[in-house]
Amino acid sequence: MRKSMFAWLLLCMIMAALPAQADIMSDLHLMKDQMRKMQEKMDKMEAELQAAKKDKAAVPEDASQREISPLAQFKQAAPAQLASTTRSDANVFNPQISFILNGGYRAFTQNPARFSVPGFALGDASGLGDRGLGINESEMNFASNVDNSFFASATLSLAPQGGLAVEEAFVQTLGLPGGVTIKGGRFFSGIGYINQFHPHHDDFIDRSLANRVFLNNIFGGDGLQARWLAPTETFFELGGEVLRGDRYPGGGAALRGAGAWDIFAKMGGDVGFSNSWLAGISWLGTKSVARESFDNNGVVSGTFDGDNRLIIGSLVWKWAPQGNPVDRNFKLQSEVFHGREKGAFTDAAGLRGLYTNNHWGGYAEAVYQFTQGWDVGVRHSMVVANNAGSAVLPGSVLDSAGIHPNRTSFVLGYANSEFSRFRLQYSLDKSQAVSDHQLALQYIILIGAHGGHQF
């Protein structure tokens, strides 16, 4: 089934690219003609330039001289502009460099070290961090066009306890025909909606319970991504990735280091001037070999061997009066997850049993910026565990104990400028049998040159 789908995809891509090929011959003739004309034009311009040079000496450089014909001014203005942008130092080739600092304060009524979601074997990054004051990972980003064909970006993260990690480091094509873009290296996966963004882009201090449970906060890895953008007025994009598969929900870099693969389709557009939307569906498959799951103290709670399938549906709707989000805007965002796993689970005591699951989850959030700089938001997130097999023992990690884990968060955000943001967030966390009231304060500071974000 998968093979034949890919064959069809390829056929369609070729069809879309064909007309461009057919035009090449006529283009060549045109180019010849064009070059001849340009030569004539250049000769003429040279003569004009000589004349203009003489003019320039006679006309004073005063902006209030409104009697000059604008065309004559055009001739004068061009050299002035060139002079101001000419630099000879190698510095101008530096990539754009930015640093993102963030940190804050967290308070929990329950001990965060005991965080768990009954019925789920969690990855190592699904928890919420420690109590009290502290900084989070600082991010350093370098991005630039490499040459006329490639763009590259590297994001390094500095953990507060020390150490440098490569969060993303990828190169992406700019010049492929037919609407195809290929990206390679280490990157955040394009599945779902929010997964591909760095956390400083988010409207809440942390990711939803569903993102943390199903994707271990953020899913990514080392691999290759191909995307095809349809030549239509409505945005339609197809993409696929092959990744190493050493990250949750995969594990162990199975299949000789190609243990995760996914495809996604995204569609989007505008409704009038004020509304825009983006919808997507993604399918992720991973094969796990001895994938470890953890409790919130970093202690291994078990290992899983088998197959994982995850489907994510996503929808984002943004509103801004007349399409101008500066003063007021509204954003509605939701993702739904359905995951299935089949294999064997070995618990911390070494007891191995058969295991299948059929998990559901999702979140919905709404954020409203009511005046420039200030926004409020609410998010509800939930996950549902369905476990079966001989590994599911009462009282074990896989025992959901009839609990329906969910979490509701309220956020108030303030931005002094687009480079400095502050947030206050309250969450009622019912991931476990006892409710946890959580309060968090956060700052995000951006220094240097940082490009804008995707929709």
Binding site: W8, G179, T234, G268, N324
Partner: protein, 303 residues
């Protein structure tokens, strides 16, 4: 289900073929003034998509899916440049998977490269807000710049579509004649505005002030991208006593609250200017843009 997906893909692929087969140059204009200009110069040989409206802040546009899709099918992108679109255009270019319109190619055009830039900063520090290293990018507020950009767009259109070179040249000469006449008309109309003092919402008007000889004695939002504080507004009120301005001006896309407040406190008129084509009811084309701008300024002056 599978057949359905296949049919969908076939349809999408075929729609693409049909679109490419059309003759006209597809132009993606980042701002309405360039859309109007390329419409004048390209006539029926171009089909123009306008990425933003005059009611949107061109600094803050979201890289919406619709913009990416439109850029994918474009042959020519016309931007203002000078980092005006720095927050969104680079993402669109990168996501568009369109090699023809990448910077450096003939399909990418920056208007600011063809005019003399004003307010080029000598020092760069974000304490001044989100400054533009290349100078003030709002070059369209001076109609003399429009003609300079028109000459450059004309050349680019002829380069991209040599078969219609004569038509482009003809339209340019025609536009240039009409524009020269209009420039003389505007100059006479705007003569009373020379030397008038104003307070502007943000530093978006440098080129217009230079053109009409108007003097800005105060800026409501002095730090670009940061809302004005109460202390600064009080300062403006105090300044009004020593060096009085005749009016407050702001662009159609800007919030009118601070401008209105200042106008009420000082008793001087508050003028909304179109800033770009379509910013007001009477600024439907390039000529009307400057007609309406001067009319509004004169009306406030004579009140």
């Amino acid at each position: 289900m599978r057949t359905w997906i296949k049919l969908c893909l076939m349809f999408v692929a075929m729609q693409g073929s049909a679109w490419q087969a059309q003759a006209a140059i597809h132009v993606f204009a980042c701002e309405p003034e360039w859309a109007a200009l390329v419409g004048e110069l390209g006539g029926g040989d171009v089909s123009v998509y306008t990425a933003t409206s005059a009611l949107q802040d061109p600094h803050h546009i979201q890289a919406r899916p619709s913009l990416i899709a439109r850029m994918r099918g474009s042959d020519l992108v016309i931007a203002t440049g000078a980092q005006l679109e720095i927050g969104w255009l680079p993402i669109l270019l990168r996501q568009s998977a369109n090699p023809a319109i990448q910077p450096g190619k003939a399909g990418y055009f920056e208007a600011a490269a063809f005019v003399r830039m004003l307010e080029v900063p000598t020092s760069m520090d974000r304490i001044q807000g989100d400054v533009h290293p290349g100078g003030n990018p709002h070059i369209q507020t001076d109609p003399r710049n429009i003609l300079r950009v028109a000459a450059a767009i004309n050349q680019r259109l002829q380069q991209l579509d040599a078969t219609h070179a004569n038509e482009y040249q003809q339209r340019f000469i025609d536009f240039s004649d009409r524009w020269q006449a209009a420039l003389q008309r505007w100059q006479m109309m705007a003569a009373p505005l020379r030397g008038v003092k104003i307070i502007a919402y943000h530093k978006g008007w440098a080129y217009m002030l230079n053109w009409l000889g108007i003097q800005a004695v105060g800026i409501i939002e002095p730090v670009a991208g940061v809302s004005p504080g109460a202390a600064h507004l009080a300062e403006l009120l105090a300044g009004q006593k020593s060096d009085p301005a005749a009016m407050v001006i702001y662009a159609a896309y800007q919030d009118d609250k601070a401008s209105d407040w200042l106008g009420q406190r000082t008793g001087i008129p508050v003028v909304k200017l179109p800033f770009s084509v379509g910013g007001t009811d009477k600024s439907g084309d390039l000529f009307a843009l400057y007609d309406d701008t001067i009319h509004r300024l004169l009306k406030a002056l004579n009140r």
